[in-house]
Subunit: 345 residues, 2 copies
């Protein structure tokens, strides 16, 4: 393929590549290079009014955005949530569904056309409103938008996995300040997901049980609701990392119904408020860890979806990049105790 | 063990923990929480003289440092390099060698005492000198210090792997500005290393060859020297990532001799200068990827050490944390072309 070896980046389609050494897909996305950032240092202070005029995600500025996929309520100019295409997508929805991976011309690597979907969920029409300001019902609407979109994406046989995630704050990677989350629908199962499924399968084969159903909460517990509990995981990768876990076995996030979504909205909001109060409104990411779209029955028995919330308090540096091993200065039971005791007014 | 469930963080020994879901060791290190940072925002500007007085890594301030392990030249007050203990170590050298990993009381996790070594290499006595300012001979001295220390650490049977790495600049995670690198000697083989060895073994079993010996450089090549070549890898995880690879098969970095170390020093210096000129002195990390200390003969046939240099130009955010899949806006052949053409005065 000519595109893999020549041509200016601007005209090239995205690619997924991996080499024999790390054997992990990397997405090469020339479109992403043009993405602007609202977090430039030394930019002059701007007023709320100016922010609103400039921000493509604010109500009234819909024309500045990439095409809409749907909104809540449907067809309503007074929308509360919009799901749109990402203007600088990591993967391209306009390619033919990908051919199977082929060996690169250098033989020690493989390559795949960068087919996939990259969407943005604008979580509120108002610039100054954050996710933790929304009512449990409105947080639930965000989840229900993710779920509606996953059902649409699942009709495409080439899509293997959908990653839902949120970046909040500059050092958590956000380039836009207006509250939003993102979804990337991938033509491959990404490396951490394969690894997670493999580990959960091993546990199931040894014990006959789902390892997430078996989590002993003990001193790691932060809070519970009718359908969920939140805890700091036993081997938390990051300080003050929080998981929200469905109490009852469920492989797919997109099985969630409207009533449980409100219960989840309430618990997520509470965790974000505790985190914000205790850690002084830190930058954070949250990620929804679910199962591949077309799972078989045996996979459904041992996989269990959950949400991971990570305040960005430490930097990933040379040691972590090299080894994949993280250094966490805070013991999980200490973080859980602190978060349990935060008083939310 | 009482330490795993109670007690204030200050009195606790470090631990390695993993859970059944991600199955990756995480280092819990209460000592790291106390580490100061020289990159505090809003700190008043200080003069070079003040910097020198305050910086524990500057010549004359040796008493502000954790104990020295050795220096070059030995016993010389006019040292050019010092290898010292890290004052806020991730792992503790004062524990008995670790007992085998045991199941945590929550059953879905395992735990190991945090035994290991964490050292700092002060690469120059002078605060304002950076690694790329050193002569090839002096860069070689840094590598020879790493190597000397690896030979010392290898005499401890509990140490399985030594990670050498450098953080330069605040957003590459550095907390100290004075030029230095670090080494962490681990009682386990870390996850990325196991994965890398497994992948290289698979390739060897399929082809009878080492996949690094087989790399086709083509349009990915940046430069060559007598014993090394530098390239942008085919599936580079990060934009403008550079690898320096020994031309001849060699499993262990610490096999490097003094003459080759100078050749490597020259090529590393050139790559750092190209990167600095082209990307405006970016923060960066470099990591030495080598083989476990006590490798068997078959492992030696398919593993091949190399150096990875990563300028920090993008942020790892929700998508990357969740999936382990990175988004790189720059095609490797484009990055290689740019770096090839940078004119170093
Ligand atoms: N007018 C418009 N219409 C539609 N979409 C628009 C738009 N203007 C901007 N966008 C998109 O809105 C998104 C905002 O996303 P975030 O702020 O969460 O982080 P971003 O994706 O930029 O990068 C962070 O997250 C990714 C994924 O984790 C990391 O690769 C990266 O390094 C990190 O900075 C961007 O992806 C951007 O392309
Ligand atoms: N007086 C003294 N004597 C001896 N040693 C001293 C000392 N004063 C400080 N030190 C040590 O010097 C080291 C300097 O290291 P770096 O600047 O490369 O990054 P650091 O290890 O702080 O963290 C970065 O690297 C690690 C590992 O990649 C990440 O976990 C982390 O998030 C990131 O910020 C620190 O480890 C510190 O403990």
């Amino acid at each position: 393929m000519a595109a893999t070896t020549s041509g200016s980046a601007g005209n090239r389609i995205p690619e997924l590549r991996k080499d024999a050494i790390s054997n992990r897909w990397v997405i090469f996305s020339p479109a992403r290079a043009k993405r602007p950032s609202e977090f430039k240092s030394n930019s002059p202070a701007v007023s709320d009014q100016q922010l609103h005029q400039r921000c493509p995600f604010c109500i009234g500025n819909e024309h500045q955005c990439a095409p809409e996929i749907f909104r809540f309520p449907p067809d309503n100019p007074d929308w509360t949530l919009r799901l749109i295409q990402n203007l600088y997508p990591a993967l391209s929805r306009d390619l033919p569904s990908p051919a199977p991976a082929r060996l690169a011309n250098n033989l020690t690597g493989s390559v795949l056309d960068g087919f996939g979907f990259h969407d943005v969920i604008i979580e509120t029409p108002v610039h100054s409103v954050q996710l933790l300001d929304l009512s449990p019902h409105d947080v639930a609407q965000v989840f229900l938008a993710h779920i509606k979109r996953i059902h649409q994406l699942a009709t495409n046989d080439s899509i293997k996995y959908v990653q839902v995630f949120k970046n909040h704050g500059a050092s958590a990677g956000a380039s836009m300040t207006h509250s939003h989350s993102q979804m990337i629908a991938l033509p491959v199962i990404p490396p951490n997901v394969s690894a997670r499924l493999g580990n959960m399968k091993d546990y199931f084969e040894k014990t006959g049980k789902c390892c997430i159903c078996e989590i002993q909460q003990e001193d790691l517990l932060i809070d519970t609701s009718d359908n969920f509990f939140s805890l700091v995981p036993y081997a938390a990768t990051f300080p003050f990392e929080i998981w929200i876990v469905p109490r009852h076995h469920s492989a797919h996030f997109h099985e969630l119904d409207a009533e449980k979504a409100i219960d989840l909205g309430r618990l997520l909001k509470l965790m974000l408020r505790k985190m914000s109060l205790q850690l002084n409104n830190p930058p954070f990411n949250y990620m929804i860890h679910t199962s591949p779209l077309h799972s078989n029955a045996s996979e459904l028995a041992y996989t269990h979806w959950f949400i991971q919330i990570v305040p960005q308090l430490t930097l990933t540096a040379g040691f972590e990049i090299a080894t994949g091993c993280h250094i966490n200065p805070v013991f999980p039971e200490d973080a859980a105790k602190v978060l349990r005791e935060v008083n939310v007014p």
